[in-house]
Symmetry: C2
Subunit: 370 residues, 2 copies
């Protein structure tokens, strides 16, 4: 059974066709010149472009590990983007007949893969009335001795909600009781609006497998740099899968990633993200205010996106397609999350670009009579 990855299909087909792409959930990227100094650029241009270490450059493994309390380089595997990290995790872990519990709404890659690999999938719903958190009692009611994996995205795509240390502790305790793995997609960690870094699940649970990368909070998707963080024995299993999926990651991207993951640079890049998003969340809120009573909105705590409910009598995909064809603006319809009546706006672009895009959305709203 194959299930199309709706959101990626939608983005793949249209993101380069529109004038205003508000479908992306990351931050606007920089250039190599912005990221490397002259000496580093010189080294970079003179590197032989041979095979890299298949687990990842040892220096990069070390820098990544340092961002996770208590982890070392044997706990890290470098991948082609966080997408490949999610893929390898799903492919390694999920067997036909497994039960897996997925947070919903979510980036729909792992739920899709879980079904493709033959698992039965249960959903734990984020609730708007809980500020897009989920209910631990509800999670407990879904757990059984067959539960292989609980998959979360924290900070959450698409809601931008952030789980507290207390919630993560409770989650770990529940998973431990049923001996389930936790997959924690943490690709939005580091872009918190209040500047307080989200706790990594790896701090709380020995069977946590973290996926992350440089595409979202780190703002550089074109590098295709991602990683997995887990117990050494788990990393070993994942690594032997990667031999089959892509062998290793670009040595050029790894060189840039080493710079980006140095603690000082990392902090600067995240401070830039926080500053851009703070401005843009305010801009977005002001835009929503120009359409009174049309939207419900819980402002995100992190991540480059805003998830809103709407009170317009139109299907979300239909509305997104109208915006695409008539206004040349791309946003993600709630249908991609099985949540019609909602829309996801990327808000990580430069403010003037975002502002012009949103004005075009207003025109689209007017055109359908609201």
């Amino acid at each position: 059974m194959f299930i199309e990855f709706e959101m990626e299909r939608f983005q793949s087909l249209y993101e380069n066709e529109v004038d205003y792409n508000l479908s992306d959930s990351g931050l606007h990227p920089l250039t190599i010149k912005d990221l490397l100094n002259e000496e580093e650029i010189n080294h970079f241009l003179n590197m032989e472009i041979g095979y890299g270490y298949t687990q990842g450059d040892p220096v990069l493994l070390n820098h990544v590990a340092q961002w996770y309390p208590g982890q070392c380089e044997n706990n890290v595997l470098i991948t082609n983007g966080s997408a490949e990290a999610n893929f390898i995790l799903a492919w390694s872990l999920i067997q036909p007949g497994d039960e897996v519990i997925m947070m919903l709404p979510n980036y729909m890659q792992v739920p899709g893969l879980a079904k493709i690999f033959g698992a039965s999938v249960k959903y734990i719903h984020l609730k708007e009335e809980l500020g897009w958190h989920f209910d631990m009692d509800e999670l407990q009611s879904l757990l059984t001795n067959k539960t292989k994996l609980i998959s979360i995205c924290n900070p959450s795509n698409p809601t931008g909600a952030v789980m507290s240390a207390e919630e993560l502790k409770q989650l770990a305790a529940l998973a431990r009781e049923y001996d389930a793995y936790i997959h924690s997609d943490e690709v939005y960690r580091g872009s918190e609006l209040n500047g307080n870094e989200t706790y990594s699940c790896i701090e709380f649970y020995e069977k946590a497998i973290v996926t992350c990368g440089l595409s979202k909070s780190f703002a550089h998707p074109g590098l295709r740099m991602g990683w997995l963080v887990a117990d050494e024995s788990i990393i070993k299993d994942l690594w032997s899968r990667k031999d089959y999926s892509s062998i290793c990651a670009s040595v050029l991207s790894q060189y840039i990633a080493i710079k980006m993951m140095q603690p000082n640079t990392r902090k600067k890049i995240h401070a830039r993200a926080t500053s851009m998003l703070s401005t843009n969340v305010e801009l977005f809120q002001n835009w929503l205010n120009t359409h009174p009573d049309l939207f419900s909105f819980v402002p995100p705590k992190a991540g480059g996106m805003a998830f809103v409910g709407y009170k317009m009598d139109i299907n979300s995909t239909k509305f997104a397609n109208l915006l695409r064809t008539e206004q040349s603006v791309l946003i993600v319809p709630g249908d991609c999350y099985g949540m019609d009546g909602y829309l996801r706006f990327g808000i990580g672009s430069p403010s003037d670009y975002l502002s012009t895009g949103l004005n075009l959305v207003s025109q689209g709203i007017k055109n359908i009579g609201y």
Copy 2:
């Protein structure tokens, strides 16, 4: 069922630990400064590192397509290395219960994946006495109405044999009779010692799926640039799998790949490969001559490797491990292909490096009493 990818495991674990890595089958790489001119470097350093097109940059699709007679950009999908191209092909095509026919010896990724995805695998053997070609009648005897896929590697890894147009026509006719796909791994195309480019299988068969990339004949594995070439309807299916496996390839690597795939540059890179290999095959043959009667050798027609049989009373993995631990030289044991009694030497490195490595192998041979 999971089967470790023995050769990649062996290389992953040891290739960075030895002084002389003769386990690689590609050509020695260049640097960005060698590949791009000043204007291109300036553009490259000032590119925003955002998401690329998920199918691949249209300019790159076009350049790749031009290398295949009769193909256009809709026939191409860009991947993270040819490894990901092979992976996506296997994952998309192979269902539990399928019969697949694999050339042996071969790069063992697709055979491993075929088993992992539940196929029953039959082997068509390359025969040393046929100059490492296979027998078409033997292939015919393996085909049934259940045969989903025939997988070849042409030019062949590890033997460097090249199939003729006539052989490819016969192969296509057989596959057509049984309505089977042909997977043709053509990553060594372009490094022919006589300078005559190998025919692509896509010229002969409508259900051929070609995998290729810049890691071997193009000499730049660190870019992780690969592609699939097939009928447009097949590419569409493969593309929707790629949404799940890694979304897209590095925009930096794609920019360099565009330059490399321009016809003039492509020809220069391949001429360099031909020249390096011609020198090194002669060097290798001279080295073999210093061990009379110990080896059997059919010189390769293309590709950065030499595959030899040996008459020493030692298991190939044991011998490779002795060379690794005692001489700090890495070569690939025939065991990785299910062919004990053979060894694969990478011969694409600079001649002095190869020569020193081979002298260390002689020392290893002497140490075991030959």
